[in-house]
């Protein structure tokens, strides 16, 4: 196991970067969706990826879930995979928020679309602050209602060392949906992120 612990300062710095990224993402989304997006302080947590299946099994024990994955990569060795996890009942009606006619778009496409929008606007907001530019792979549904979430997470945790769990709760006027965002990051990229955080901390 690699040493993946963040110092208190690094953690605070990352939390602040994420807050600002969330703010920018929400502002863009609000303009795009033409509604007010209620913003909550996102709660972040760094966990060993092996612990992921257990953590999410608790959260999503009783319900069907949908899991959308999207890879990202940028400069200075920053890369990873973003996972968005929705409870099934939250996955309905997204077409309406997105401004599509329900007939124009399948349920799978609704999920990949909203996931891609949330992931890319949020990560772009993060990248801007650290003078980085990210590119993304196409979003893919890796699990839907009938497949056990744990199985997928076990597979994923095999490939990744560390998970940055960001609880995002998006609420828009007249409609609310919640989803969890998990950023899976390999050990070597964590080291690169720590270097970036230290650089910012040095400036202040």
């Amino acid at each position: 196991m690699k040493d993946i612990a963040l110092t208190e300062d690094q953690r605070d710095c990352l939390q602040e970067l994420i807050n600002v990224a969330m703010g920018r993402a929400s502002d863009k989304l609000a303009r795009y969706l033409q509604t007010f997006v209620h913003l909550q302080v996102p709660y972040i947590e760094l966990i060993d990826s092996q612990a992921l299946p257990e953590r999410f099994a608790e959260n999503y024990a009783e319900e069907g879930v949908s899991l959308v994955s999207q890879g990202f990569y940028g400069e200075r060795g920053i890369l990873g995979e973003s996972l968005l996890i929705y409870k099934s009942h939250d996955a309905h009606g997204i077409a309406e928020i997105l401004g599509y006619e329900p007939d124009d778009i399948s349920e799978v496409e609704q999920l990949t679309d909203i996931s891609s929008i949330l992931t890319t606007t949020f990560l772009n907001g993060l990248a801007e602050q650290i003078d980085n530019q990210l590119a993304y792979s196409a979003p893919r549904i890796v699990s839907s209602v009938d497949t056990p979430l744990e199985q997928h997470l076990e597979q994923l945790s095999f490939n990744w060392d560390l998970a940055l769990k960001v609880d995002i709760s998006y609420q828009v006027t007249d409609y609310s949906f919640n989803c969890d965002m998990v950023l899976l990051i390999p050990g070597e990229a964590i080291v690169n992120i720590q270097a970036v955080l230290d650089q910012i901390l040095d400036e202040f």
Partner: protein, 121 residues
Amino acid sequence: MSIPVLICDDSALARKQVKKSLPAEWDVEVQFATNGKEALDILRNQQIGVTFLDLTMPEIDGVAVLEANHAEKLVDFIIVVSADIQPEMQKRVIELGALAFIQKPVNTTKLKEILQQYGLL
């Protein structure tokens, strides 16, 4: 005489960022608060010239501080420094008596303009 300035944010980095963005020529004495409760304690018991206030904080958030300040008529100059930059939120804090709204991370030039506009600098 130095102007007493309060910077309220739950993030240490954000507090430092705000402090560092204050114009060098501005003669101030800076105090920090790490949440809304601490901020209200200071505002109620001390003479504070200018307050820089974050909005999204755990427990007592910036909006609640603005509401209390408005009700208790504590101080005149509160500048909101926030990550939540949606127009509706900006409108709301101005209605609650905030002097201005600055998006995070703080841009010194923008801050200077605001301070000059209100004769604080």
